[in-house]
C-alpha cells in the first residue's frame, strides 16, 4: 500500500504534466462538479481513444527521428473505406475494420518507403500525403456513407464492462507498444536510431527497416482510428473526418515529453499528454469559457504545460538505475547556450527539441 503510494509519488516527481493534469481536473471538478461524472468522462475517453490510437505509434515514429503529418487524412481514408465496406451488405464489421487498417497501412508504406529507403524528408513527404490522401478520400466518397447498422456501430458506441470498445482497444494498443518500446531489442533500436542513426547503423541496427515499419504501423493505426470515428459518428464525411488532426496528435506527443529531435520519450508520457488535451478542452467547455476565449486559453495552457515540464527537467537529476551518484542533467557550456538541457550535438535542432 504505502509502497504503491511511494511509487505514485515518484511517478508524479517524474511527470509534472501529470501533476498539472490532476490540478486541472480537481479545479474543474470543484468549480463545475461535472467533469468526474462517468458520462462526461466516458465522452472524454471516447475522444481520447481516437487521439491515443494515433498518438501512440506517432510517438514511436518521432522517437525514431521521423514524423507523420498525414495521419489526419489517413484517418479520413480509413473511415471512408470502413464505412463503404460496412454499407455493402457483405461487409462484416471485422472486414470493415481490416479494410480501414489495410488502407492506412498502405499510406504508411508510401510514407515509409519515400522517407526511409527514398531518404526524403518525412516532414515534406507526409506534408504531401496529407494533401493527396485527403483528396483521394474525397474522390472515393464525395458524399458520406452512413447509417451502418448495429454491428459496425458497436465499434463506436459499444460498451464492454461499461467502457467503450474503442477505449479498450486503444488501451490495449498502448500497453503493447509500451512493452515493445521498453522490453524488446527492436524497441530499443527505435531509440538508438533516434539518438544517433550513424552509430545505430554501425551497430548493425536496421536503420531503414525499423522506421519503415513504424510508418506502416502509424498509418494502420490512423486507419483504425478512422474506423472508430466513422462508427461513432455513424457517418464518414471524407472532407471533415480528422481534419487538422495531425496537429492534435503531434501536440499530445510533444506534451508527453517526446522530443522532435528523436531518441527521447515514453508511452506513459503520451497517455498523459492525450488525457491533458482531452480534459483541458472538456474543462474549458464545462467552465463555459466563451468561444474565442477558449482558443486563447488552450493556446496558453499548451505553453504553460511544456514550460512546467521543462522547468522540472532542468532541476531534476537523471534517474540512475542503481545507487550510483546521480549527475544532474547538463550544466557546463551548454547551460548558457540554447542547446541547454541537451549535450548531444546531434540534438541541436532547437526548433525541434521539445
Amino acid at each position: 500500500m504505502s509502497t504503491s503510494l511511494a511509487r505514485f509519488g515518484r511517478l508524479l516527481g517524474r511527470s509534472p504534466l501529470l501533476i498539472l493534469l490532476i490540478v486541472l481536473v480537481i479545479v474543474v471538478q470543484l468549480m463545475t462538479g461535472a467533469q468526474l461524472t462517468w458520462p462526461n468522462l466516458r465522452g472524454v475517453l471516447l475522444d481520447s481513444a481516437v487521439t491515443l490510437t494515433i498518438a501512440a505509434p506517432l510517438a514511436m515514429l518521432v522517437i525514431a527521428g521521423q514524423i507523420d503529418l498525414s495521419v489526419g487524412s489517413t484517418l479520413a481514408l480509413g473511415g471512408v473505406i470502413a464505412g463503404q465496406v460496412a454499407n455493402n451488405g457483405h461487409g462484416s464489421t471485422l472486414v470493415a475494420l481490416l479494410a480501414a487498417i489495410l488502407a492506412g497501412a498502405l499510406v504508411g508504406v508510401v510514407n515509409g518507403a519515400l522517407s526511409t529507403y527514398g531518404r526524403l524528408s518525412s516532414f515534406i513527404v507526409t506534408l504531401g500525403t496529407l494533401t493527396a490522401v485527403r483528396g483521394a478520400a474525397q474522390l472515393l466518397s464525395p458524399t458520406p456513407s452512413g447509417n451502418y447498422g448495429p454491428g459496425f456501430g458497436f465499434l463506436g458506441v459499444g460498451l464492454v464492462a461499461a467502457v467503450p470498445v474503442s477505449v479498450w482497444i486503444s488501451v490495449l494498443l498502448v500497453v503493447v507498444l509500451a512493452a515493445f518500446l521498453a522490453w524488446t531489442p527492436t524497441g530499443r533500436h527505435v531509440y538508438a536510431i533516434g539518438i544517433n542513426p550513424e552509430a545505430a547503423y554501425l551497430s548493425g541496427i536496421h536503420v531503414r527497416r525499423v522506421p519503415f515499419g513504424l510508418f506502416v504501423a502509424c498509418g494502420a493505426a490512423a486507419g483504425l482510428a478512422g474506423a472508430f470515428t466513422a462508427a461513432r459518428l455513424n457517418s464518414a464525411p471524407a472532407g471533415q473526418l480528422g481534419l487538422g488532426f495531425e496537429l492534435t496528435a503531434l501536440t499530445a506527443v510533444l506534451l508527453g515529453g517526446v522530443a522532435l529531435t528523436g531518441g527521447k520519450g515514453s508511452m506513459g508520457g503520451v497517455v498523459v499528454g492525450v488525457l491533458f488535451l482531452g480534459l483541458l478542452k472538456n474543462g474549458l467547455t464545462l467552465l463555459h469559457v466563451t468561444t474565442f476565449w477558449q482558443q486563447v486559453a488552450s493556446g496558453l495552457a499548451l505553453i504553460v504545460a511544456v514550460a512546467i515540464s521543462l522547468l522540472s527537467q532542468r532541476v531534476r537529476p537523471v534517474r540512475t538505475v542503481d545507487p550510483a551518484p546521480a549527475i544532474p542533467e547538463e550544466s557546463g557550456p551548454a547551460d548558457l547556450s540554447p542547446a541547454a538541457h541537451d549535450t548531444n550535438p546531434a540534438h541541436k535542432s532547437l526548433a525541434m527539441s521539445s
Binding site: 552509430a199 554501425l202 540512475t320 538505475v321 551518484p325 548531444n344
Partner: protein, 503 residues
C-alpha cells in the same frame, strides 16, 4: 601575459570535476596539462574559455581578477580555446569560420576581400594547405585543427589552449602541429596543451601539471623528467602498456583478405590468425579507415575475396551482415559513430548483443545487468553505473563502453576491427583497454585488425604491423623486433605522403 587560477572548483551534482585547483600559465611557455579521463582537464579549460561557470575559485588575467567570464569576454581578454570537440562548422567556409564572431566589416557589411587576404595570411602562418573559400566540411581533421588555430590567432590570442589537439590527427599532422606550437611559443604566446600522449609532452612541454580526480596532484618543469615519472604522476602507480602474448605457430587463419580492392586503391592481401592482432599503421589518407569500413560493410563498391574462419564470404553489404558473419567494428569517431549519448551505459554495451540472448524476443533485465557488470568490472569502468547516461562519462570511459559492445561474454564475434581504438583515452584506461583486447584475442582466439597513429599502441597491441600509404601495404614488421623510434622513423622517412587535404 600571465593567467592563473586559484581555488578553482566545479561541481556537477555529485561529481567534483575540479577541486580547488591552483595553476599559472605564462607567456612563452608550453604548459602541458595531463591526467586520466575525467580528471577535469576539459572542465578547467571550459572555465578559462568562459563557457563553463566555476562553482568557486577565481581566474586572474595579468593580475586582474575577472568575474563571470563569458566566451565573449574571454576572447576579448586574449584567451583562445581549441576545444576537445572541434567547434569549426562544416557548413561554413574556412574564412567564415576564422572570423566567426569577429568579422572584418566595412560599414554594416562584411569586408570579404580584407578577410580573404588576412585568412590566407593566417593559413600560411599555420602552414595549412586549405584556402579561405574552401568548405571546412571538405577538410581533413588535421586541416580543421589548423583552421581552429588560425581562428585563435586571428583573435590575437595571448593564451592559446589546445584540448587534445592531436587526438584525431595522423602522425604526420601531429608532427606539423607540434612544430607550429613551438613556433607560437617563441612568438610569446602562452600555451596550455592537453594530451594523453607522453611523446608530445616530452617533445613540446616546458611545464607539466597533472590533474587527478579534479585535484592538481603534481606540477613540475620538464627538466630531468622522464616518461615513467609522468606515468607515475598520472596514474598514481608505476605501470607500462605491456605486450601481447605470442601467437601459437599453428594458429589457423581467422581473417583472410585476398585481392580486396577498395575503389581506386590497389588490391590488398592480408591474413590475421586466431589470437593475433595486426596493426595498420600509416599516414593520413593511407586508406585504413576505408579498408576497415569496407570489411565491415559500411562502405560500398569493393571487390575481392574475403574469408572468415576459412569460410569464403561475400564482402558484407551492410554492418548487420558483417555482424552476422562474426565481424565487429569500433569506429574512429566515438562521438558521431560510436556512442549513444542519451542511452545509459548499460544500453550502450548490450545494444549489439541483445538479440543473441537465447529465449524469446523479450529483454531480460537480469541478463543485461550481469552482462554489463562483467564488462564494467573487466574494463574497470568508472563510474560503474549502469543507469548513467553515456554522455556523462569521460572520454576514456565512453570508449570502454563502445569497445564493450563487441568485447563481452555474449558477443560471438570472430573478427574485431578497430579504428584508432584509444583516441582520447588516458594512459590508465589505455592500459586496461590493451589488456582486455589482448586477453580477448588470446582466450577467445579471435582476430584483431586495428588502425592507429601511435607507435606505442602498435607495440602494445599488435603482433604484426602493416605500414600503409595511399591504400597500399608497403611493408610488414614483426612488432617484437620493432621499437617506437623505428616506427616514427618510417613516418618521417620519405614515404610518398598522400595529399593532406581530402577527407
Amino acid at each position: 601575459m600571465t593567467v592563473s587560477v586559484s581555488k578553482l572548483t566545479k561541481r556537477y551534482g555529485a561529481t567534483l570535476a575540479l577541486d580547488s585547483v591552483d595553476l599559472t600559465f605564462r607567456s612563452g611557455e608550453v604548459h602541458a596539462l595531463l591526467g586520466h579521463n575525467g580528471a577535469g582537464k576539459s572542465t578547467l579549460i571550459g572555465c578559462l574559455g568562459g563557457g563553463t561557470t566555476p562553482t568557486a575559485g577565481s581566474i586572474e588575467i595579468d593580475g586582474v581578477v575577472t568575474e563571470g567570464l563569458t566566451p565573449g569576454s574571454a576572447i576579448k581578454a586574449g584567451i583562445a580555446v581549441i576545444y576537445q570537440h572541434l567547434s569549426v562548422m562544416d557548413g561554413l567556409s574556412v574564412m567564415d569560420n576564422i572570423f566567426l564572431g569577429q568579422e572584418l566589416h566595412r560599414g554594416p557589411l562584411i569586408d570579404r576581400s580584407a578577410q580573404r587576404l588576412r585568412a590566407s595570411e593566417l593559413l600560411g602562418r599555420v602552414k595549412s594547405s586549405a584556402r579561405p573559400d574552401d568548405l571546412v566540411g571538405d577538410l581533413s581533421m588535421g586541416q580543421r585543427q589548423l583552421v581552429e588555430i588560425a581562428k585563435a590567432l586571428e583573435r590575437d590570442a595571448r593564451l592559446l589552449i589546445l584540448d587534445e589537439p592531436t587526438a584525431s590527427l595522423s602522425a604526420r599532422e601531429s608532427e606539423a602541429l607540434g612544430q607550429l606550437v613551438l613556433q607560437l611559443k617563441t612568438e610569446g604566446i602562452a600555451i596550455v596543451y592537453v594530451t594523453h600522449l607522453l611523446e608530445e609532452v616530452m617533445r613540446l612541454a616546458d611545464q607539466v601539471s597533472v590533474l587527478r580526480n579534479g585535484r592538481k596532484v603534481w606540477s613540475h618543469t620538464i627538466e630531468g623528467i622522464g616518461k615513467s615519472d609522468l606515468v607515475t604522476a598520472i596514474s598514481g602507480e608505476q605501470s607500462g602498456f605491456g605486450v601481447p602474448e605470442p601467437v601459437s605457430p599453428d594458429a589457423p587463419v581467422v581473417l583472410g583478405l585476398s585481392g580486396i580492392e577498395v575503389h581506386d586503391a590497389p588490391p590488398v592481401d592480408l591474413k590475421v590468425h586466431a589470437g593475433e592482432a595486426v596493426a595498420l599503421y600509416g599516414l593520413i589518407g593511407a586508406g585504413r579507415t576505408r579498408l576497415l569500413e569496407t570489411l565491415f560493410g559500411a562502405r560500398a563498391g569493393a571487390r575481392g575475396e574475403l574469408r572468415v574462419d576459412g569460410q569464403p564470404i561475400r564482402i558484407p553489404r551492410d554492418p548487420a551482415e558483417a555482424i552476422a558473419r562474426g565481424i565487429g567494428f569500433v569506429p574512429s569517431d566515438r562521438k558521431t559513430q560510436g556512442l549513444f549519448p542519451d542511452f545509459s551505459a548499460l544500453e550502450n554495451t548490450v545494444l549489439a548483443v541483445q538479440r543473441h540472448r537465447g529465449h524469446g524476443l523479450w529483454r531480460s533485465a537480469r541478463w543485461e545487468r550481469e552482462l554489463f557488470t562483467a564488462v564494467a568490472s573487466g574494463m574497470r569502468l568508472n563510474p560503474s553505473a549502469p543507469g548513467l547516461p553515456a554522455r556523462s562519462f569521460s572520454g576514456g570511459n565512453q570508449q570502454k563502453l563502445v569497445i564493450g559492445r563487441w568485447v563481452n561474454p555474449a558477443s560471438s564475434i570472430r573478427v574485431l576491427l578497430l579504428d584508432d581504438p584509444t583516441q582520447g583515452v588516458d594512459v590508465g584506461a589505455r592500459e586496461e583497454i590493451y589488456r582486455i583486447l589482448r586477453q580477448e584475442a588470446h582466450t577467445r582466439q579471435i582476430a584483431i585488425l586495428f588502425a592507429t597513429n601511435e607507435p606505442e599502441e602498435v607495440l602494445a597491441l599488435g603482433h604484426r604491423c602493416l605500414i600503409m600509404a595511399q591504400g597500399r601495404i608497403l611493408r610488414e614488421i614483426r612488432c617484437a623486433d620493432s621499437s617506437p623510434e623505428q616506427l616514427l622513423d618510417i613516418v618521417h622517412s620519405a614515404v610518398p605522403s598522400a595529399p593532406a587535404g581530402v577527407r
